[in-house]
């Protein structure tokens, strides 16, 4: 056990040194590290609880997705019936379905067949399983029920998550925040982690806005007041302009002339005449052409700029200016009681694009930078204090061998930081606790070895034989006892999130480095000492 071939010894030392070296970038400012080669840039990432930041778990609003699907289905059914020139009645949503009654018995078979064609095989992940998008059923008495299948709904939710991630990324980048982490989680969730944000509420608002921008004409056929009293034309709806006390109703046509999807750019700025904050925008060529056409035909009429931020507020009219002249250049501006910040935020939202559905925050954890710094300080003090106590105790208990153990433990801790850096792992406050506890485990490995050596000495073995036997017997025990702790750490890694996962990571890595140091380094140190000193008695 005490014999080391030269190459094995060199390999051991080299491994330890290289792993330790990986922690070097952590001691330099980020700007310096950026100039190093890529492989040397790996470093520890401070968890949100240490550097401050927001952790927000968003969930796709299933009801919103369902509503969108059913609205679209309603339109499809209406169009199909119109194309088939069939008389119908009672076309409406009922629960999770759309129902319609065909007037004439004679029409029914043909119309039913047409409606069935609305159901298409699902593509994507659900493709190939024979699932279809709709259940179309004959309820008797010429009543047709069309239900969106759950497979189709799930597929749509999956798409919503996929489409939302880049949009969220653009929005957060728009706020000027660095290194956000945006991950899909489960089937219908998105985890957003943004380090160091001053105003978490603003981030939350930005994430929750669906930001669907629409340009529609104002319906002049009747006044908004009359429409509110129940005489709303079929193709129009009453929306509100302004917020709080000064909400004025505006009767707006349902037909969307140009949508926000056709914007290429949006910038916040100030109106040159009034000095008010505004948002100026620019359409892509198709959007510009459509907008030019619409404004040419409707000079003198007001149009409404409608922003839909999803439930609970629904669509709102940002402003309803009168078209004074055709707008041919494809750009324009929105003014509507903005503050500088709200204009800025709207510009960010418009640039990033609309979210396909409403996202609800179901978990948020925000840590201020002040608390983070406090935690770092406290973690440091606790680590130094814990380390010092253990080091002193080991010296007092084992003397020279205690010193060996302390050296091994220090290298061990350095290696933990090295491995953490190598993995770009996240260090959290519980993670620091994990490292402090690892010091306990690492010391235990040495304690097991030394106690075994003490025992072997008592059993009458010579110094070298006792050391040899101590190592060989203790190592099996060290392996067994650490694997159990490792299993607990692994489980914690899989079920935990955020800080807890940080704990599991440091604990797990700590166990591995502990095994490495116990099996090689400590042995090497003691072996070297034995070779040099040729001890007659063991000093422990």
């Amino acid at each position: 056990m005490l014999y080391f071939s030269r190459w094995k010894a060199i390999g051991t030392v080299l491994t330890a040194v290289i792993v330790c070296l990986f922690m070097v970038p952590n001691f330099f400012p980020e700007a310096t590290v950026k100039t190093w080669p890529e492989w040397a840039q790996r470093h520890l990432v401070l968890g949100l609880d240490l550097q401050g930041g927001s952790h927000i778990l968003l969930e796709v609003d299933v009801n919103d997705v369902k509503k969108q699907r059913l609205d679209a289905l309603l339109d499809d059914v209406r169009r199909t019936l119109r194309d088939a020139k069939a008389g119908y009645q009672g076309l409406a949503r009922r629960g999770d379905s759309v129902e319609v009654r065909i007037r004439e018995n004679a029409d029914f078979p043909a119309v039913f067949a047409k409606l069935r064609e609305l159901s298409t095989p699902l593509g994507g992940l659900a493709g190939g399983t024979g699932q279809r998008s709709l259940d179309v059923s004959d309820q008797g008495n010429r009543l047709v029920r069309l239900t969106v299948t759950s497979a189709a709904l799930n597929e749509r939710i999956r798409q919503v998550v996929e489409q939302s991630i880049p949009i969220i990324e653009k929005r957060i980048n728009g706020l000027g925040l660095v290194e956000p982490t945006i991950q899909r989680q489960g089937a219908d969730r998105i985890l957003v982690q943004v380090p160091g944000l001053g105003d978490p509420k603003r981030l939350l608002d930005l994430l929750q806005s669906t930001a669907k921008l629409e340009f529609r004409l104002v319906d002049m056929s009747t006044s908004a007041q009359d429409a509110l009293q129940g005489r709303t034309p079929a193709d129009s709806e009453v929306l509100y302009e302004g917020k709080g006390g000064t909400r004025t109703p505006v009767l707006v046509e349902k037909q969307v002339l140009v949508s926000g999807a056709e914007l290429t750019d949006a910038q916040a700025g100030f109106d040159q005449r009034t000095g008010e904050p505004i948002v100026s925008f620019r359409f892509n060529s198709a959007g510009a052409r459509k907008f030019a056409e619409v404004t040419q035909r409707n000079v003198g009429r007001p149009f409404a700029i409608v922003l839909d931020n999803g439930p609970p507020n629904g669509p709102e009219v940002l402003s309803a200016p009168v078209i004074r002249e055709p707008i041919l250049g494809g750009s324009g501006q929105i003014s509507g009681n903005f503050t500088v910040q709200s204009a800025n935020d709207l510009a960010i939202l418009l640039r990033a694009g609309a979210l396909p559905a409403k996202l609800t925050p179901i978990e948020q954890r925000v840590v201020g930078a002040g608390l983070g710094q406090d935690s770092i300080d406290k973690g440091k003090i606790a680590s130094y204090a814990g380390g010092a106590l253990v080091v002193i105790f080991m010296l007092v208990t084992y003397g020279l061998f205690g010193l060996f153990a302390n050296i091994a433990v220090m290298i061990n801790v350095a290696m933990i930081f090295g491995v953490l850096s190598l993995l770009n792992a996240t260090l959290t406050l519980p993670g620091i606790a994990g490292i402090v506890l690892t010091v306990g485990i690492a010391v235990d490995a040495n304690v097991l070895i030394y106690e075994r050596i003490r025992e072997e000495v008592r059993h009458g073995r010579s110094a070298i034989a006792a050391i040899d036997a101590g190592f060989s017997r203790a190592l099996a025990t060290i392996l067994d006892s650490n694997i159990t702790t490792f299993i607990a750490a692994a489980v914690l890694f899989f079920i935990g999130t955020g800080p807890v996962r940080g704990f599991a990571v440091t604990l797990g890595i700590g166990i591995i480095t502990t095994l490495f140091t116990a099996f090689t380094l400590t042995r090497l140190i003691v072996a070297t000492w034995v070779r040099m000193v040729r001890p007659k008695t063991v000093p422990i």
């Binding site: 948020q364 406290k378 106590l389 253990v390 003397g399 606790a433 607990a488 914690l492 935990g496």
Partner: protein, 357 residues
């Protein structure tokens, strides 16, 4: 230099006899803990209960708890708890789960922010909706069971089933007592508590395994030593290690407890109880003696009768009656048994090392 010896060499405490006290005591404490869990309950944090937790710090001077309390009471947000946290300027605000789903939780936070205004700095805001809290709770519970299961399977492969079973009893005992502790102290039970529980599990097993390892070694070497004595020798010879390791772990934990701050306070307090108090006790007084009842002796190698009459064979009731499984033959079990006559008291100290390599 004179080195510190916390535990003198060659201790000969009769730990195993103590089982007549430790077993009923543990059973009683476990029942008590279970009773506490059901009637006193755990103080579930927002991770598992849902709701809102805000840590605020007055920007100048001390935080006026009474004033904050009245302001927040006016909001009608249901149960609102305020609590001094750390220094006198820091306050922890807890809101219960708001009726009205996920959206309502966020609105409650906005209301509190409005009510408290700019006089305080928001150091931490955590909002956990009803769905997430439910999932976290089930994940946590499943996690603990998976950890126990995983460790058991490992022990079963590495040792024999009796050891795995003994370790499991010890395990569950630790967890139950720790839960009882958390119920008495009303420490916040949240995700970090699950981390603490799993670490306690790992540590306690670590300890148990060290003693089991020694027991296994002794079983191979002294085929005729009566079980209770063999266990005693095993525990005594690893006693020094157990104590020293627990001193070092306690020192680490003490540093965390004193300097680690409020955020991990409940975590370290739980660990202190679980690892230092319960874990050590369990591995010595529960996990080892229970092997007597699980019939480990039945698996001991050849060599005639397991023990002579004077060796309290009565303590091994299941042993002869039911050889449960074929013994996985120890690959390096060395020479046949030590001389039967000497196998009693004296042989423990005689160096009969296994030949290795």
């Amino acid at each position: 230099m004179k080195l510190l010896r916390i535990v003198p060499d060659d201790t000969k405490f009769d730990f195993i006899r103590f089982r007549r006290i430790s077993f009923p005591l543990s059973a009683l404490l476990s029942l008590l803990a279970i009773g506490l869990y059901f009637f006193h309950g755990l103080n579930f944090g927002i991770d598992f209960k849902g709701g809102t937790l805000m840590e605020v710090q007055a920007k100048s001077g001390q935080a006026d708890l009474a004033d904050m309390r009245t302001r927040l009471a006016d909001l009608h947000l249901g149960e609102v708890q305020l609590q001094q946290f750390g220094g006198p300027s820091e306050v922890l605000i807890r809101l219960g789960q708001q009726p009205g789903g996920e959206e309502a939780q966020n609105e409650a936070v906005a209301k509190v922010r409005n009510a408290l205004g700019d006089a305080v700095e928001y150091r931490r805001i955590e909002v956990v909706g009803p769905r997430v809290s439910g999932e976290l709770l089930s994940m946590g519970t499943i996690g603990v069971f998976f950890a126990i299961g995983g460790i058991l399977i490992y022990l079963w492969f590495r040792f024999e089933w009796q050891f795995a079973l003994g370790a499991m009893v010890a395990n569950v005992h630790d967890l139950v007592l720790t839960l009882g502790f958390m119920s008495v102290t009303q420490i916040d039970f949240d995700l970090t508590s699950i981390a603490a529980l799993l670490t306690i599990l790992g540590y306690s097993l670590n300890d148990t395994v060290v003693i089991y390892d020694r027991i296994r070694e002794m079983l191979r070497r002294y085929k005729r030593m009566p079980m209770p004595e063999l266990l005693n020798v095993s525990i005594n010879s690893t006693l020094s290690r157990s104590i020293i390791t627990h001193v070092t772990v306690s020192l680490s934990l003490l540093a965390l407890l004193l300097f680690g701050g409020q955020a991990i306070h409940s975590f370290t307090a739980t660990m202190m109880f679980g690892v230092v108090l319960v874990g050590t006790y369990t591995s010595i007084f529960i996990a080892s003696p229970i092997l007597i009842y699980l019939g480990v002796a039945a698996n001991r190698g050849s060599g005639g009768m397991a023990a002579s009459a004077e060796d309290e064979a009565a303590d091994v009731p299941v042993a002869v009656a039911k050889p449960a499984e074929p013994a996985p033959s120890a690959p390096e079990s060395g020479r046949p048994a030590a001389p039967p006559a000497a196998a009693g008291k004296s042989s423990a100290r005689r160096p009969t090392g296994r030949p290795r390599r």
